[in-house]
């Protein structure tokens, strides 16, 4: 599977992997990862294009517009778990650089 695992992509994978069967909103992922919409959505789009991410529209409550939600497909979950070592290495690099607390 050809997907560039940038530090930002790894952050998104981490965020989704924290509760892999739960649907998440774009803004919630943005808050947990600290990524801006201009960075986050292209990553979500790429993951969805490669069928690693499934998307759906929330069933709307009356008077509230529906929101778009995301979670891993079974293949996406496997992919995220396989790439856990890369995330761990990235995390230890961030700790070493002082960008993240150990």
């Amino acid at each position: 599977m050809k997907l560039r695992l940038s530090p930002q992509t790894l952050l998104v994978l981490d965020s989704l992997l924290s509760e892999p069967r739960e649907w998440k909103y774009g803004y919630d992922i943005s808050r947990t990862t600290g990524l801006k919409s201009g960075t986050l959505y292209p990553i979500l789009m790429r993951l969805a294009d490669r069928e690693l991410l499934e998307t759906r529209w929330e069933t709307p409550d009356p008077g509230k517009p529906p929101r778009h939600m995301y979670r891993f497909t079974p293949e996406g979950l496997r992919f995220a778990r396989i790439n856990a070592p890369a995330r761990a290495a990235g995390s230890s690099r961030r700790v070493a650089l002082g960008l993240e607390q150990a």
Binding site: Y27, S37, P66, R67, H68
Partner: protein
């Protein structure tokens, strides 16, 4: 609702209207999230980032569509047809660039008459001849190995324009 949030919503609605169908669902998703962002300025930043993401996604989709349709057409063509198309596209691109350069000169003269560009011969030579010809040569050298017919089309147009200028100068 503050002005920045109104601006953010208007920007994303415009992006949604302009987006091609493949991007529309994502644009709509970004627009919906806007209602849940606390703070007007944060909403505006969200909209700016989202608009950039929509533009990139739409652009990539168009490029992929163009590439796939071109490769489908190329498969059906014989080598002579491919060369002719390459040559024509090189010549047309070069001619378009030369016309744009010439048009920009006239536009600059129209917008800023105090500069007196129309009366200065060197601005015409530089803007409409020297710079475009330099671009043609660089482009032809860069394309020579990968797309020789395109490079030849560019070079031939560059030569024709150069010849036209020589004749024009000699006649006047």
């Amino acid at each position: 609702m503050g002005v920045p949030r109104k601006l953010a919503a208007a920007m994303l609605k415009a992006a949604l209207r302009l987006a091609p169908p493949i991007t529309r669902e994502w644009a709509s998703a970004m627009l919906r999230e806007l209602d849940f962002i606390p703070g007007d300025w944060a909403a505006l930043l969200w909209a700016l980032g989202s608009a950039a993401a929509i533009a990139r996604h739409a652009g990539r989709g168009c490029v992929n569509l163009f590439k796939s349709s071109r490769s489908d057409q190329e498969k059906l063509m014989n080598p002579t047809g491919k060369r002719a198309i390459g040559f024509a596209s090189g010549a047309i691109s070069a001619l378009a660039l030369a016309l744009i350069a010439f048009g920009l000169l006239f536009l600059t003269d129209f917008l800023f008459p105090q500069l007196g560009i129309a009366r200065k011969e060197w601005t015409h030579l530089l803007g409409a001849i020297v710079i475009p010809e330099a671009i043609f040569i660089v482009a032809a050298v860069a394309l020579w190995r990968r797309r020789k017919p395109v490079a030849m089309g560019i070079l031939l147009t560059a030569a024709a324009i150069g010849l036209h200028v020589v004749i024009h100068v000699a006649a006047h």
